[in-house]
Amino acid sequence: MTVTFLSDDVMSRLQAVATWPNFDGLRYTIIDEIGRGGMGAVYRGLDDVLGREVAIKVSNGVPGAELERRLNDEARILATLEHPGIVPVHDVGRLADGRLFYVMKRVRGATLPEHLAGVTSLSEKLGIFERVCDAVNFAHAHGVVHRDLKPDNIMIGEFGEVLVMDWGIAQTAGSGDRDIVLGTRGFMAPEQERAESTDARADVYSLGAVLSWLCGGSGAPRPLGAISARAMAAEPSSRYSTALALSSDVARFRAGHAVDAHRESLLERTGRFARTYRTAIILVAAYLVMRILAAYFSGARS
């Protein structure tokens, strides 16, 4: 038998294809792999019944294992959170090999870091951030803490919709993974790193880290630096108490108002006023100059 020669690239492709789950007997067909993480892999699939593309997350774990419990929890949490900023779940099921999977809306778009490659406006970045806060605040209102907020877990859809993704280690009120460190360093609250109990303020910390990342860290305007510093306070009690409070402070900055997190000097206040009403000030100044010139020429003529 002549064996087909496979280059290293084709080998990589086939090795990936070989690990795709078998959906025989189910209404879904895998199209391609979207991503792979510790808990499972996410595939682009086709819902054969409705003829629409979906995203399917398949557990890496065997039935009954911890990973499967987490995937199940994630699906249930997403099903609870009906919000434009949170991906809806359509279905949950089991493969022939016993692995759990859930089906969700397929989001076409880019991750926040990819999207921001073409965005320079600070105001637009902050607008995205406020919408992330909206979704997170909604989850908090339903007793869910995300616990892994970071730029890679935020997606911007084709039509500008902002979605908070990957609720795999989210925690509902009363549940939790004490003694296990889960999350992403650099965006994780100190109490989360110490595997202590966490609440919504752990997400406020992560949001502060995302804000700092968005604004370019130390290069951020002082009020924004102060907002992220307050959100990222080591003590949870020193942070904004809710994602909404954090979002509101950012919105105040965006509107050109003073922010809660920063007491500004007279010079800063004057500068902010001048920036906010720059055009109006220029126009009034132009009018006054005209008037002075008019008075001068009128005097000279008479």
Partner: protein, 239 residues
């Protein structure tokens, strides 16, 4: 069509230990088919042998193994069968070097036709250099050979069942890494709907996978080893 799970097939060791000479010979033929390419490339890359020496030694290795039946001495508790084969090759190569400095073609037994010219073309195409880890390299080449056979089998099955278009799609989308085409573009090109492209590709991938599993089953030393290999290669938990 091949199903997602392969039919029951005995391990290579069980088949090699059969009293029936014909069955034993067939089992050995399967083993050679699955291992000769990794063995040849291992000798070329790790042992830095010339093509001629590597060809002679590969042939000699399998002939000697068949005549003296030393692959049947495999002990599952010590290592995977694949590792055992690689260690045997290393010992054989070392002994051959010490004995004459050039390996001799062992016996006259030609179990299967080994297309060394083609294997050498692959060696050149891959520009193989001395691997840092011989075991990883051997495994990689073993998988390449396994997948190559599975692709060939999948093509044959698609031709047999009148589904050549299915295989053409597979060739374009999965076997041509330079062709960054999309399902929509393939659908337009082949006069199909995107759903059909999705389903046709899915069928060929399942067939490829099933043949790879069947071949793997015949190349593992034990059932446990097969389960482990299947889990690592296909993410499958096989009962």
């Amino acid at each position: 069509m091949a199903s997602a799970f392969p039919p029951t097939r005995h391990s290579v060791i069980e088949r090699l230990r059969k009293d029936d000479a014909a069955e034993r010979s067939a089992a050995f033929g399967d083993l050679v088919e699955g291992y000769w390419q990794p063995v040849y490339k291992h000798l070329r890359a790790t042992w830095r042998m010339t093509p001629e020496d590597a060809q002679d030694l590969t042939q000699a290795f399998f002939s000697d193994a068949f005549q003296k039946a030393w692959l049947e001495k495999y002990e599952p508790g010590k290592a995977r069968f694949r590792t055992f084969v690689r260690v045997c090759v290393d010992r054989f190569a070392m002994n051959s070097r010490q004995a004459s400095g050039r390996a001799k073609r062992g016996g006259d037994i030609r179990l299967v036709s080994l297309d060394f010219d083609r294997a050498e073309q692959e060696v050149r195409a891959l520009a193989l250099s001395a691997p840092a880890d011989a075991e990883d390299f051997f495994r990689h080449e073993f998988v390449r050979s396994l997948f190559g056979r599975a692709v060939t089998e999948a093509r044959a099955e698609m031709e047999r069942t009148g589904r050549l278009v299915h295989f053409r799609l597979f060739e374009r989308y999965d076997l041509d890494p330079d062709d960054h085409t999309s399902y929509a573009a393939l659908a337009a090109e082949f006069g199909l709907t995107e759903s059909q492209v999705t389903n046709y590709l899915s069928l060929v991938r399942r067939t490829f996978r099933a043949h790879a599993l069947i071949a793997l089953r015949g190349l593992c030393g034990t059932d446990d080893e097969y389960r482990r290999e299947a889990r690592e290669l296909f993410g499958l938990e096989i009962e």
